[in-house]
Amino acid sequence: MSGRPLLAPGSDDEALTASLFAPVWRPASRGYKRLLGFGLAGTALLGVGLVQLGRVGLSSLSDGGNVAWGVDAVSFTWWVGLAQAGTMLSAGLLLFEQPWRSGIHRAAEAMALFAGGCAVLCGVASTGRPGLDHWLLPFPSAAGLGPQLDSPLSWSAPALISWGAVSLLFGYLGLLPDLATLRDRSPTRAARLCYGVLALGWRGSGRHWAHWKLSYLLLGGLCTALSLGGQAVVAFAFATSQLTGWHSTLLPVCFVAGALCSGAAMLALLLLPASRLLGLGHVITDRHFDALNRLVLATSLVLLYGRAVEAFIAWYSGEPDADALFFHARLAGPYAPVCWTMLLCACGVPQLYWFERARASARVTLAVSLLVSVGVWLDRFVSVVVSLHHDLVASSWTVYLPTWVDACLLLGSLSFFLTSMLLFFKLMPGVAASGVKELKEELAA
């Protein structure tokens, strides 16, 4: 891996500026417009789902069986995982001073931001009463009502708010030098005005850089802590309950591993076509995909370990209930196809990455990343739905089927994510130009 270049040789600062900012100034291609239209049409489904949810309430998401938390809670945990993995990747690689960070961190931060938006949408929807969700916020109300902060479930909203605000500041600080370039290179007055307002008058002053450097590092540290904490809080909401399948101290570790696994896979899935279509192959090289694929492999092993320990403890405890959940409901019951697909996609398929040829192949990376993303979604499905389905009253075990509103919300949030990423890559450079130039200088020194 170390033999492969992080940057294609032969570009000077001016050439790098031209190539990295070219997608912003180039008129949108027909394919891009089609994809954007497709994304916008899909996003309309989100509106349909939310309107129906607001009109009917929770019964539009569940048939009244024991699975009250369905696909929206699954999607919420999956999107939160993607979002916080994006921040963990960007900020964590900064703290560990990894040189391959510069090629991918902008896309990781954008992914974090928009996946966070999708998580909020799915979280708001999963309560069933979007109009009353302001009660999730911890504020001292005159009525004396507030969230019960002794339940981890009520830590989710403040954890998301803190993580969102600090990672937005972190991403914006990183973007500032590139916004100044956009301002200075804008071909039209309107663009110059917009980017000029966003750039805050940045002129790359040595004094500003000195404060920037330390602030960026501090915010990176805070972001890493907040995203690890955020994943732990989401996992605690499950782990502190008495339900078999949720009540496990290993859950926070598995949530972090699952988040990083799907985050790295989603990033590869986004960057592979983007680098080809936007002509960024000289700054997002095979080495970046190799590193992301290694991360997918390592975290999938942690996921596999978590699932294996879960099954072992169920067997070793001798609890008939745990035994029934793990071996009858999951591996052989009505949800067996979901469980086996999950194990295959999230834990089995990434094992291909033991082979260097698989890590280097764009097609394999694309296919594995897609399957891993699906696999981690199904992992959340197994955690949330199968455990709820198999509660302590055997007569209430019904098979949960998502409703059309669930489908609208899932497809709508995926489309919203696609649309947001497409717009971001059109309006901002998808790779941090200032970081790449700094890396070039460091490699030359």
């Binding site: 001016e14 940045w202 002129r203 790359g204 004094r207 450097k213 501090l218 904490g229």
Partner: protein, 177 residues
Amino acid sequence: MMHWVLGEFAEPRALLGAVRTLRGEHVRVLDTHTPYRVHGLDDALGLPRSPVRWWALAGALLGAAAGWALQLSFVERLPLEGNKPPLSVPLFLPFTLEVMALGAGLAIAAALLLRLWDLPRPYHPAFEHEAFVSSASSSGFWLSVSTGVPEDAERARGRLEALGAKNVAVIVEPEGR
């Protein structure tokens, strides 16, 4: 009236050398403008370590205190479930830590914008120089000397040219800006 003397260097090492030379000649009001962080420039400019860390610490402490107080106010109104004592320290920690990190992040942003950077500032005399606008944020390494004395500005221009700077110009900041 402030005079801004600007000169462009082709690469970071040339800029670093020029900054060290001018500081050796006791030119104090120096600044640089670079498209990315240049290692060693902080030391060459003689900048102290950024005080942003103290702001972050203050914000973190303030955030932690606010989070703690908010939880106490909740408990006062609505006792905790399960017969827990009103001051349940382990239970209070996660929320306190979240608000603490938020406080630190917001304090960093406030410090940069209100105190440490003179930003947002859409106008700066340097933006009057066309060559500066076209390269300072992408590929040029600029040095600026600011002075209120026109003769000093002319002397600085001569020194910058002698040190190998291109596109050297003296920008006079208009009155009232």
